[in-house]
């Protein structure tokens, strides 16, 4: 009689080694060279990649915010307006548009954006915020809710 259980027990390290490795190799499938197929190298690369992915999730959002802000600033400066005053004016008029929408409007619907700048300008100069005098005269023909009161 042969007792194989001990030998098999030694060979079988942990639960289902093949599938455990398979999970890692699945994540390294798009890597180049031995980092793709050799497990001991792949696992290091996958760990690094996952760390980068974790960091990248946050960085991506920050990058997009920075890009939108540059674009809105550019759009504002065409109409002789500053970004902080523009946002403040819109919020005071209860126009709650986020950066993404404003940047999109500046590119795709420039005339809407221009009217938004005018509304913000009228509101900001009506409330007399700091730095308004540099913007020049407020546009005529704009009626905000604050003016009606």
């Amino acid at each position: 009689m042969v007792f194989t259980s001990l030998a098999l027990f030694v060979r079988n390290r942990g639960p289902d080694e093949f599938w455990r490795k398979r999970k890692i190799l699945k994540l390294s499938a798009h890597f180049y060279g031995r980092r793709r197929n050799c497990y001991s190298i792949a696992i290091r690369a996958v760990h690094r990649a996952l760390v980068s992915a974790t960091k990248g999730r946050k960085l991506k959002k920050e990058d997009m915010v920075a890009l939108w802000e540059t674009r809105i600033t550019a759009g504002c400066e065409e109409h002789n307006m500053t970004y902080p005053l523009f946002r403040e004016g819109l919020v005071r008029c209860n126009i709650l548009l986020n950066r993404k929408t404003l940047a999109d409007l500046a590119v795709w619907e420039p005339r809407t954006f221009k009217s938004l700048v005018k509304v913000a300008h009228a509101r900001v100069s009506q409330d007399g915020l700091a730095g308004v005098t540099e913007l020049g005269d407020p546009p005529s023909g704009i009626i905000t809710r604050g003016m009606l009161k």
Binding site: L67, T70, R71, G75, E78, F113
Partner: protein
């Protein structure tokens, strides 16, 4: 892509030529503004990967104004790469040698040191006076506003204007001005 769309894209990505008069302007503050136009940061279509920068023609770079005694104190460093090849040039010396150099270096230094910088600099044209070649002058369609107003020199005022200027007192007849 239809012909209409192609034209629309040309329209959106059209390069504009701007003019900047550097008379009596601080080159380092002006560089911040010029850089915006060179990189396309003044356009709402800006993206670091799209090539939407404009051309800037700077005139009168020989007339720039440096703060305080920066003409004497500011030093430009250059190294030829050989041992003992380091040179330090004062700002006034450099300006004597090449009146466009300070402006050029100011713009170059204000940009990020990436691979795009050399190509962006190619879109900057600097002239020491307002004598711009006709070929470039024809392209200019816009002017960038200066940072500060250029004060008028006393000898440019008409004598009657000087006469009319209010003064607290007149010098006595026998007073010797030194």
């Amino acid at each position: 892509m239809t012909a209409y769309k192609r034209v629309q894209q040309w329209n959106t990505f059209a390069r504009v030529w701007h003019l900047y008069d550097a008379t009596w302007q601080n080159p380092f503050e002006s560089a911040q503004r010029i850089m915006k136009y060179l990189k396309g940061l003044h356009k709402p279509i800006y993206h670091p990967l799209n090539d939407c920068g404009d051309h800037v023609v700077v005139i009168n770079s020989g007339e720039i104004a440096l703060l305080g005694d920066e003409w004497r104190k500011r030093v430009y460093f250059h190294h030829t790469g050989y041992p003992g090849g380091a040179t330090w040039t004062l700002a006034w010396e450099l300006h004597d040698k090449d009146p466009t150099m300070i402006m050029k270096k100011a713009v170059y230094n204000v940009m990020d040191g990436n691979l795009q910088r050399r190509y962006t600099m190619q879109r900057l044209h600097i002239y020491p006076d307002d004598d711009v070649p006709e070929k470039i002058k024809q392209n200019i369609t816009n002017q960038i506003r200066q940072l500060r107003p250029v004060p008028k020199r006393l000898d440019r005022y008409a004598p009657e204007e000087v006469q009319r200027f209010p003064k607290v007192m007149d010098w006595p007849k026998n007073y010797i001005l030194r």
